[in-house]
Symmetry: C2
Subunit: 234 residues, 2 copies
DNA sequence: CGTCTAATTGAGATGTGTCAAGCGGTGTGG
DNA sequence: CCACACCGCTTGACACATCTCAATTAGACG
């Protein structure tokens, strides 16, 4: 329920540039370009649980994440949410949505979050000035699309246990062995219910793959190798 | 089981240009650009059931469809295929895959098909020469991504009957009321089995939404308005 | 006319969702 | 600083939508 903190502090340009250097979409650009872009951003912080933007909102800004975790999900009236990704350092929130008028997904802070924000119009100016950005965005979008294709294949073809294992592997590959997410969120990421998720986690706990120290809002992977080998389907 | 016909016939340039004019990705470009690009394409025909490219193949060409139906799907060892889209006139087969080294999906001709084909390298040259193409591709990719997001939401939240209705509506909006696809393919497009698909179709036939003249490899929508109203979920 | 593939229908098995109840940790307010 | 209240976690029992397996019918094509 935290409110959005919209305060802008005076970060040095070099620190902003570092955030862009950390992003796949921008890290191929020459330094002068990065500085030019970074100079046009403002720092925006979000409190845990606050929304960065919501499903249906007009898309006005481009965000790049400096720190914290953000979940991108689609809410539904029936309460059946679907989580599509957990974003962190260097990720861009909506390289895609910008070309569409309004957001399809909701972005919500899972922890306190720091972002750099750019006006949509300014972003498009740079997109034309440095065509390489467009190429990188296409690449990124294509990757994301592949991930979602695979997710659909998994949901229709794999059993829940397999899907949750796969989710755990995907998430821990990106975020490390300690996942600061709720069971509910893992379920929504895997396309199943909280209860089923918990039952699978209990099994994995018995097998020693996740730690019994995993508590409220936290899942700890204790055997990454075993998780990886189990996660290979086919 | 048809073999690929690789014969190139001497189409007039103007006819090739017309194909590009019919495509969302290219139709904003000036005529001289379209002629320049069209001149570099060759005509490639495919027999019904033949594969244009397969999952795992190196991506070497860019295709734009002139006529016929092509299904893009991901095959699986368990026989649980998933159909992601049915492409037709003006559609590009793989604006996305080109930025990735190899294809994630298989493209197979459902009917006899005519395409124009461009070398991947040549395509990239034009991508840099006419940045507007990149912008259009980003838009297209973003749309596709949204479609797949929605599909995941549907598969996890909606009942099969609803999903099939939604599939029928989507397909007939694009292809018209006569769908030249098999029950099996509709099932794979809806994320369910052939048998379940047939059972739902039987119900819809009773309701008069699809015609009882629907035969082998063909589904005829007889009440588009009713289908549309049913297809709205929530 | 025979063969092959698609469509159809039935009956049974089962993975997951749903509903309900209880526990435990954590933070907040008195 | 303690106690209460809330929220996430956990487990159990049950229901049922959908898949699976199997057998039959029907249409297309050579």
């Amino acid at each position: 329920m935290g409110k959005t903190l919209n305060q802008e502090s005076k970060w040095e340009l070099s620190r902003k540039v570092a955030v862009f250097k950390n992003s796949e979409i921008f890290n191929h650009l020459p330094s002068y370009a990065l500085e030019e872009i970074a100079a046009r951003t403002i720092l925006v912080r979000f409190k845990k649980d606050s929304k960065i933007f919501m499903d249906g909102d007009k898309s006005e800004f481009f965000y790049i994440v400096d720190s914290g975790l953000i979940k991108l999900f689609k809410g539904s009236s029936t309460g059946k949410n679907v989580v599509f990704s957990i974003s962190t350092n260097g990720d861009t929130l909506n390289g895609s949505a910008l070309s569409i008028d309004s957001h399809f997904l909701t972005a919500q802070a899972i922890t306190d979050v720091t972002t750099l924000r750019l006006e949509k119009e300014v972003f498009f100016i740079f997109l034309h000035k440095y065509p390489d950005i467009a190429v990188q965005i296409i690449k990124k979008l294509a990757q994301r699309l592949t991930i979602e294709y695979q997710k659909i294949v998994d949901i229709t073809g794999e059993e829940v246990e397999q899907r949750i294992i796969h989710s755990l592997y995907t998430l821990s590959s990106k975020l490390g062995p300690i996942l600061n997410i709720k069971r509910e969120e893992l379920g929504e990421f895997s396309g199943t219910t909280t209860e089923t998720t918990i039952r699978v986690l209990s099994k994995l706990k018995k097998k020693g793959i996740i730690s019994s120290a995993s508590t409220r809002g936290k899942i700890i992977i204790s055997n990454m190798d075993e998780l990886q080998s189990l996660s290979y389907h086919m």
